[in-house]
C-alpha cells in the first residue's frame, strides 16, 4: 500500500503569466512525482499539488526562487488518510 508520510498538498494561486508558466513547468518534471489535484487553469485560479516528501524541498525552492507564494493546504496527507481509515473501521465495528 502506498503511504503518504510527510507528503503535503500545496496551494498556489498564480497571479501573473510568468508565475503560471513557472507552475506549469513543474507539471513536466515527472521525476518529482507531483500529482496535480487542481491543474493550472489560469490566473487567479488555485493550483493544488500533492508533493511527495522527497520532492518537497526542490518544489518549495523552485517556487520561492521565482517569488511565487504558496500555502500548505494539507500538512500531512498520511494523517488524513489514517483518520479516514480509522473512521471506516469504527463504523464497521
Amino acid at each position: 500500500t502506498e503511504t503518504f508520510v510527510g507528503h503535503q498538498v500545496l496551494r498556489i494561486v498564480p497571479t501573473t503569466d510568468e508565475e503560471l508558466q513557472k507552475v506549469e513547468e513543474l507539471q513536466n518534471l515527472e521525476e518529482l512525482q507531483l500529482d496535480f489535484w487542481l491543474a493550472p487553469r489560469g490566473l487567479g485560479h488555485p493550483v493544488d499539488v500533492h508533493v511527495p516528501f522527497p520532492s518537497l524541498q526542490p518544489v518549495k525552492a523552485h517556487l520561492e526562487a521565482n517569488g511565487i507564494s504558496y500555502s500548505i493546504m494539507i500538512q500531512d496527507v498520511q494523517a488524513l488518510v489514517d483518520h479516514e481509515q480509522t473512521e471506516m473501521l469504527r463504523s464497521r465495528r
Binding site: E2, F4, E30, R41, P46, I74, E84, M88
Partner: protein, 310 residues
C-alpha cells in the same frame, strides 16, 4: 453487513463490497421500485452495476446519474449511496420526486470505476484512473473522463500513459466507459445525464473540448443558476457554474460532451465539496450535508427535464 438500509451508516465511507451489499438490500426492500442492472464488466472483471428506479412502463424517458468515475473522489460514491436511499424514502411523500417518477425512470451508477475504487481502498488512496494495462506501456490506467468520443485526443488530455489525464489508446477503450456508451445508445431515451465528481464546488455543462458554445447554452446556464441557488439554500455552500471550458479549463474526451452530442440536452457535471481544505480527503462527517445539498440541485435539473420534454 447491515440488516437493512435503515441501519446502513451513511455518515462514513464504505468498501466496494459494502456498497454492492447495500444495493442488494435496497433492491430486496423495494422490489416494486428498484432493480439492479449489470451493464458490463470492468478491466478486472468486476460487474458494473446500475440501479434503476421505475414505477413501470417500458423505455420511458430517463435520467442518468453516475458517481465515482474518478475513483479517489470518495464523497461522490458516498453521495450516490445516499441519493439511492433518498429516492426510495421520498418517492411517494415528496411531490416533486413522485411526479418525476410518474413520467421518468432514474438510473444511478454509484461505482462507475470499481477497479480504481478498490485500488484506492487497498493500494493507493490517491488513484484516479481506471486500472487498464497495455503492453509496452510503463504506466497503468486511463482517465475515464478523457476517454469519450467527443474531441477525443484533442488539447485538454494527455497522450502520456503516465499522466493523470491520459486519454487512452482510442475512444471508449475503457470498458467502464464503453459500458455506459452502449447503455445510453441502446436505451435511446435518456433526457438528462449528470456525472458527479469532486472537488471544487462547480456545476458545469458542455463543452469542455471546444470554445464553441452549445446551442442550448442559455437554457443550461439558467438551469444551472436555479440548481446552484437551491443547493446553496441549505447550508450556504457557494458554487460557481458555467461551461467546462470557460469555468475550469479545456478538457477533451469528456463524458458530458459526448452525451450532449448524443442529443442528451440536459448534460451536467458536478464538482462537489470542497474548494480546497481537504480536497479528495473530505472528512466523512461532510458526506451527508454534501449529499443533501447536491440532491436539491439534482431535483431542479430533474424537474426541468420532466417539464421540458424533447
Amino acid at each position: 453487513l447491515p440488516l437493512s438500509t435503515n441501519t446502513f451508516d451513511y455518515t462514513t465511507y464504505h468498501s466496494l463490497d459494502e456498497i454492492y451489499a447495500f444495493m442488494d438490500l435496497l433492491v430486496a426492500e423495494n422490489p416494486n421500485l428498484v432493480s439492479k442492472l449489470e451493464i458490463g464488466q470492468s478491466t478486472e472483471n468486476r460487474p458494473l452495476y446500475v440501479l434503476k428506479f421505475s414505477k413501470g412502463g417500458t423505455n420511458r424517458p430517463a435520467i442518468w446519474i453516475d458517481t465515482g468515475i474518478h475513483s479517489r473522489e470518495w464523497v461522490t460514491q458516498a453521495s450516490g449511496v445516499w441519493f439511492a436511499k433518498k429516492i426510495v424514502q421520498d418517492h411517494e411523500n415528496d411531490e416533486g420526486l413522485a411526479s418525476i417518477l410518474d413520467k421518468m425512470d432514474i438510473f444511478l451508477e454509484i461505482v462507475t470505476n470499481p477497479d480504481g475504487f478498490v485500488f484506492t481502498q487497498t493500494q493507493n488512496r490517491m488513484w484516479r484512473k481506471t486500472r487498464s494495462k497495455r503492453s509496452g506501456s510503463l504506466c497503468i490506467g486511463v482517465d475515464p473522463n478523457r476517454n469519450w468520443d467527443a474531441g477525443f485526443g484533442g488539447p485538454g488530455a494527455s497522450g502520456n500513459p503516465c499522466s493523470e489525464t491520459y486519454h487512452g489508446p482510442y475512444a471508449n477503450s475503457e470498458p467502464e466507459v464503453k459500458a455506459i456508451v452502449d447503455f445510453v445508445k441502446s436505451h435511446g431515451n435518456i433526457k438528462a445525464f449528470i456525472s458527479i465528481h469532486s472537488y471544487s464546488q462547480l456545476l458545469l455543462y458542455p463543452y469542455g473540448y471546444t470554445r464553441t458554445p452549445v446551442p442550448d447554452q442559455k437554457e443550461l446556464h439558467e438551469i444551472s443558476e436555479k440548481a446552484v441557488a437551491a443547493l446553496s439554500s441549505l447550508y450556504g455552500t457557494s458554487y460557481k457554474y458555467g461551461s467546462i471550458i470557460t469555468t475550469i479549463y479545456q478538457a477533451s474526451g469528456g463524458t458530458i460532451d459526448w452525451t450532449y452530442n448524443q442529443g442528451i440536452k440536459y448534460s451536467f457535471t458536478f464538482e462537489l465539496r470542497d474548494t480546497g481544505r481537504y480536497g479528495f480527503l473530505l472528512p466523512a462527517k461532510q458526506i451527508v450535508p454534501t449529499a443533501q445539498e447536491t440532491w436539491l440541485a439534482l431535483q431542479v435539473i430533474m424537474q426541468h427535464a420532466r417539464d421540458h420534454p424533447y
